[in-house]
Amino acid sequence: MTRVMPERPQQPRPPAPAETHPPLTTDVVVTGGLARRGQPLLPRIGRTVWSTLVGIGIVISHAWRSRDTVQYPEEMVYLPPRYRGRIILSRDPDGEERCVACYLCSAACPVDCIALQATTDENGRRYPEWFRINFSRCIFCGFCEDACPTYAIQLTPDVEMSEYERSSMVYEKEDLLISGPGKYHEHDFYRVAGLAIGGKGKGEAENEAPPSDVRGLLP
């Protein structure tokens, strides 16, 4: 079941916003204190009228402030790099799939929106035969990313996922898999893990000593 993904227009991510507003304390204008009961009548009226006029003045002055609204389709909202948005599957630096189909993301998912089927390639390396995320269920909690031992599944700062049909919200592996390593550029699970697979024996990974021969008696 393959599906052609619609072309996603890649908008350049806007820079992180600087402070656009002056601090709100500029609104505090000395109005000569509040009008209160018990004060003489004339100053009370004077203060009331004055603070009324000051109020109108402040409101009018806001016409020249910068706008808080982000004009969304033309102007993009700044989303931090670790924003929890659309989920992707990343590849290791060699371009191989990172996912080892351990089912941990699927188990961690509180809404059961992740489904996959594990299989192995000719080197004995595990990978998902298919991998499916139902985004109409996904709550973007990021538990799958936390659970993933290989940094394969990652959440990205993209929220533009509207579809006209509910079935279009189901993303297959082809839709999820990206070409790069995502947030962790150098990480390669098989290079640091002590697992023996085709082309790499036990103890040959980074920061790893060869396994000791537990049956040998000599020190």
Partner: protein, 330 residues
Amino acid sequence: MTVPAGAVVAALPAWVGPLATVLGVLIVVLSLAAGLIWYERRLLALVQDRHGPNRVGPAGLLQVLADTFKILFKEDWVPPFADRSVFVVAPSIVFATALLSFMVVPVAEGIVVADMDVGLLFVLAMSSLAVYSVVLAGWASRSKYSLIGGLRAAAQMVSYEVFMGLSLVGVITLAGSFNLSDIVAGQQRSVYYVFPQFIGFVIFLVAGLAETRRIPFDLVEAESELVAGYHTEYSGMKFGLFLVGEYVAITLVSALIVTLFFGGWLGPWLPDVVWFLLKTFVFITLFIVIRGTFPRVRYDQLMALGWKALLPLSLLNLLITGAIVVARAG
């Protein structure tokens, strides 16, 4: 060969001029009231650091059209528990009275639909009739929110009618006429009546806010407590009539303030009508800015302000004005 404009006007039948005035005033007022919906939303957004409706058409101007179509195509629904005939009639009253009041407002020298000698009384009478609309709408809806809204409307509008009338007596005394054209002419002879009648102007402004049920005095439709007050049960174009009626009323009060206190069409260089519209627009803007500024007053504050502050003040104003006029007449 060019024909002078005066000759063309003289050659037309006698009924063309009045008809053109009626149609002109009607069309301008109605389109202005519709445009105010857009203007108010944009202006409120402006003072609240937002943009407001800016998507439909240039600067969002076609939003008015879109809203009109939306409201026209909505189902014309009368709740089964409502008092049907009264329910249907009520919205048209507020609309009709506001439009009728425009009859006596002179837009420029000689351009007035009905040059009544009791023009100002007519306006006050129409504004009294408008109370019925709100009260009956609240009553006929047979819903608790509507009823409370209607009750508040009755108390509020009847109270503020008193000061509205009293605050204008000073102007009438100065001009010596109820005719709005005469009042403007009187200001041409002396000064704009806002100077001798500043207190009257302020009272009329506040009373106008209360009569149009605008924000510091919108207890009638207080959305935080009464859902939508007297028009809770209204939808579709019947609600639209209330909405447009409110904007016509705002335009009316602004036009009246301009006519009574700011010299109506008087002004240098520009044509009369332009001056009148410009001045009216300033007050419409003021009304909207006031809406953007103030919170809703409490009910007891509303009544206290009216009866304890504005009533004595307007009577005092009347007394002083009368004394000065009598002393001058010697």
